[in-house]
């Protein structure tokens, strides 16, 4: 107890210095918390994807379509459990800038393949039986304030109605959730048939073909079986796991992970230098006292422990405040609708608390080790002579 008391007294001896060091650490952990949460969103596509889900796209590029006949051919391949198909609709709500990720899908199999979505069975049934029915993700429904029973119209920046114009009428019949917060529930799903019957071009073609394999071990063999089957046909395919597909898509935006990691590392390195120097200074100013403590019979080990505890405590106080504010900011920002459309799965993950705490310990240890070591090795007689 008396040790802790000494540590505490030493920490608070120079209040201004304590506040400044704490503030510097606070900033570093604030950045770590916020940027870590953002990074998590970009990784979530990869992490939330199911082990057994594959994506079949046109080999030229995923924006090129595939013949709808491929769906049944793929279903017949050994190791395929369920298959569906989807088309990008290019949807927006009222104005071009209100992008809604809208997919024209096969209503009977879509939720069978995307089994990480949670949907009420009655609503699912209703959607499957309603030609103009729209199934909306929770995030998108909240963003625009849509409820089950609403009649809305969505426009497409790609397709046109046979009758002219680019607007389709829909009835919202269901809202789906994710089985965990990592699952992106932004988007709206319409019947492929409704869309194909009304629009002027593009029938018999689908955008991409998602499927589930019976077990993850078969992924590679199923993927190569599919690609071989359509080799040298007018539309060759490229089959990858959903995780690979998600990763490639994020990489298209640029090396976001690298940028975020660099900024956090730069911030930490800066703070590390500042705090390490401050600790060294604080301990060297106390040379006399440490010598006196040793004279009084405090063991070298105990002195070492005291100084190290001091830097650990400093790091943990600043770090907890930083992560705390980061959690508040991220959780608050996650409610903002503009951000929801851009970072749909934004949240403050527990993982950041754990990682953050590990970094606090590391920072405390690194900044305190040398001053503590010097204090431990201090020769009492020299120290007392020096003054």
């Amino acid at each position: 107890m008396s040790d802790l008391y000494l540590v505490f007294k030493n920490l608070t001896r120079n209040k201004l210095r304590l506040i400044l060091s704490c503030f510097a650490i606070f900033i570093a952990f604030l950045l770590f918390g916020v940027l870590g949460s953002v990074q998590k969103v970009f990784d979530s596509g990869e992490e939330a994807s199911s082990d057994t889900r594959l994506m079949v796209v046109n080999k030229i590029n995923f924006t090129q379509p595939l013949p709808i006949a491929y769906v049944n051919k793929i279903k017949a391949i050994e190791g395929v459990a369920s298959v569906t198909y989807a088309n990008w609709f290019g949807g927006y709500y009222k104005e071009q800038k209100n992008m809604v990720p809208t997919f024209a899908v096969d209503q009977d199999t879509y939720f069978e393949v995307y089994n990480n979505f949670v949907v009420d069975p009655a609503q699912l049934q209703e959607w499957q039986n309603t030609r103009t029915g729209l199934m909306v993700g929770r995030v998108t429904a909240n963003q625009w304030g849509w409820k089950v029973g609403d009649k809305i119209s969505l426009s497409s920046n790609i397709f046109s109605q046979k009758t002219g114009g680019q607007t389709w009428e829909f009835n919202i019949v269901g809202i789906f959730d994710g089985e965990n917060p990592q699952v992106d529930t932004s988007g709206a799903l319409l019947h492929y048939k409704y869309f194909i019957e009304t629009q002027t071009f593009g029938s018999d073609w689908v955008g991409w073909i998602p499927l589930n394999t019976t077990e993850a071990a078969l992924n590679d063999s199923v993927a190569s079986a599919i690609d071989e089957q359509f080799a040298n046909s007018p539309a060759e395919t490229k089959t990858s796991t959903e995780a690979q597909f998600a990763k490639a898509f994020i990489e298209q935006l640029g090396n976001i992970g690298f940028i975020l990691t660099s900024v956090v590392s730069a911030a930490f390195f800066t703070i590390l230098m500042i705090v390490a120097n401050t600790m060294a200074l604080a301990v060297s100013e106390r040379t006399n006292e440490i010598a006196v403590l040793k004279t009084l019979g405090f063991s070298a080990k105990r002195i070492f422990g005291q100084v190290l505890s001091e830097s650990l405590l400093l790091s943990i106080i600043g770090g907890l405040f930083g992560l705390g504010l980061a959690a508040l900011l991220v959780t608050g920002a996650a409610q903002a609708p503009q951000l929801k459309s851009f970072l749909p799965t934004l949240m403050f993950p527990t993982e950041i608390w754990l990682k953050g705490f590990a970094y606090m310990l590391l920072l405390g240890f690194v900044t305190g080790f040398f001053p503590a070591y010097n204090a431990m090795k201090l020769k009492t007689i020299d120290a007392l002579n020096r003054s």
């Binding site: 400044l20 900033i27 080999k59 298209q252 090396n255 900024v263 800066t270 120097n277």
Partner: protein
């Protein structure tokens, strides 16, 4: 006045003489400021480079036409007869071959990104000879132009640095056909340098496009003639097109993404600057504490408090400015001219270079200066108010 300058000088010399005692602390502050400035410059250079690429793309006297509401080339489609009608629009410039109008197809194909090894979207633009007539800054830098009717492509110069497999003479498989890279072209750092070009008819037949195109470009007699074209299109019921100048189209995109990068860069840099500020304050308070006896002694022999204040402030500002210069230097060394690519609003990769602008330099040094001034102000205030009695006590 001269005596004040002398006094300030004396305090500065004293600060500098005692610097070795705080060498590591001062270096840490200097480096902290340098890192903050370098991070800020990196973000600003990224936003600026992207903007520059897009801004150098559009021309005032080129009008582009896409299907109504398409918003990007990828989503647009125009039938051949619509494209033909445009050739008769008033205000479009003519040469000996007729109206300078270029109908172009736009297909996305995969390329391997060198940085990640993953597939990325690259535009394959099908063009006629008119595409070159309409763009003033097009030139073949090596190899030759593709021959019409053959599976040959020319590759934009920016593609080579970021994507693998498009070297001169190599074969690229797109769909069932193999294409030969016969030339490298450059368009003066514009977006088109991030594209592959080939004969429009070959694209239309290989990709089942019939005779449709995605976009029609027309050269205007003057930038003002766009109004004539708009009126002509609006009056014809067969033409449901969005008409805008090429400059406007790319300028919009520049605003969007460039703005996003700035909105991210500034808050991050300011947060980091606050951390560096804490370090600077710490260093300067230590500096004042270490020199308190000396400062008090100077006060005792008649130095004014202003000189203690300014002398201390000077130390902090010098440290920060040095840090700012170091950070700028590092940013130039590491980031300036570095190329990277991101997904543009046409859903394809746009290659651009980091470019540090003169505005960014001023921003960077200002940020360093603010850290120096604020980080020195409060400690300097303390130095100015030190009680003279300290000079006569045995301990500082």
């Amino acid at each position: 006045m001269g005596s004040v300058i002398k006094q300030i000088n004396a305090v500065i010399v004293m600060s500098l003489n005692s610097l070795p005692q705080r060498l590591w602390m001062s270096l840490a502050t200097l480096l902290a400021v340098a890192i903050v400035v370098a991070v800020l410059l990196a973000f600003l250079a990224m936003g600026n480079g992207f903007k520059k690429t897009l801004e150098s793309t559009g021309a005032e006297d080129i009008v582009i036409m896409m299907r109504e509401g398409a918003s990007a080339e990828l989503n647009s489609v125009l039938m051949r007869d619509q494209a033909n009608l445009i050739e008769e629009a008033p205000g479009v410039l003519n040469d000996e071959q007729g109206a300078i109008v270029s109908g172009e197809t736009y297909v996305i194909v995969d390329g391997k990104k060198r940085s990640s090894g993953t597939d990325a979207n690259i535009p394959l633009r099908g063009v006629s000879s008119r595409a070159v007539d309409i763009r003033d800054n097009f030139s073949i830098v090596s190899g030759r132009m593709f021959e019409p009717g053959k599976n040959e492509i020319v590759v934009g110069s920016s593609i080579l640095s970021e994507f693998a497999g498009f070297e001169l003479g190599s074969e690229v498989k797109l769909g069932n056909a193999k294409w030969k890279v016969v030339g490298i072209f450059d368009t003066g750092g514009s977006v088109f340098s991030s594209e592959l070009w080939t004969d429009i008819r070959v694209v239309q037949s290989q990709f089942n496009r019939g005779s449709s195109v995605q976009i029609v470009r027309a050269k205007l007699e003057s930038p003002e003639a766009i109004e004539q074209v708009k009126a002509y299109i609006a009056a014809d019921a067969r033409l449901n097109l969005d008409v805008q100048s090429e400059k406007t189209y790319y300028g919009e995109q520049a605003k969007n993404v460039g703005g996003v990068i700035n909105y991210i860069g500034w808050p991050l840099s300011i947060a980091m600057a606050l951390g560096a500020l804490a370090g600077a304050l710490n260093t300067m308070y230590t500096s004042v504490a270490q020199r308190s006896v000396e400062i008090a002694t100077l006060r005792a022999i008649g130095f004014g408090s202003l000189s203690s204040f300014l002398g201390t402030l000077f130390e902090s500002v010098v440290l920060s400015i040095l840090g700012g210069v170091l950070g700028t230097f590092a940013a130039f060394l590491f980031f300036d001219g570095m190329t990277t690519s991101t997904l543009g609003s046409s859903f394809t990769q746009i290659v651009f270079s980091f470019e540090i602008s003169s505005d960014a330099l001023i921003d960077g040094v200002s940020l360093a200066l603010i850290i120096g001034l604020v980080g020195g102000f409060f400690p300097a205030l303390r130095a100015a108010r030190l009680p003279v009695i300290l000079a006569f006590s045995s301990q500082g």
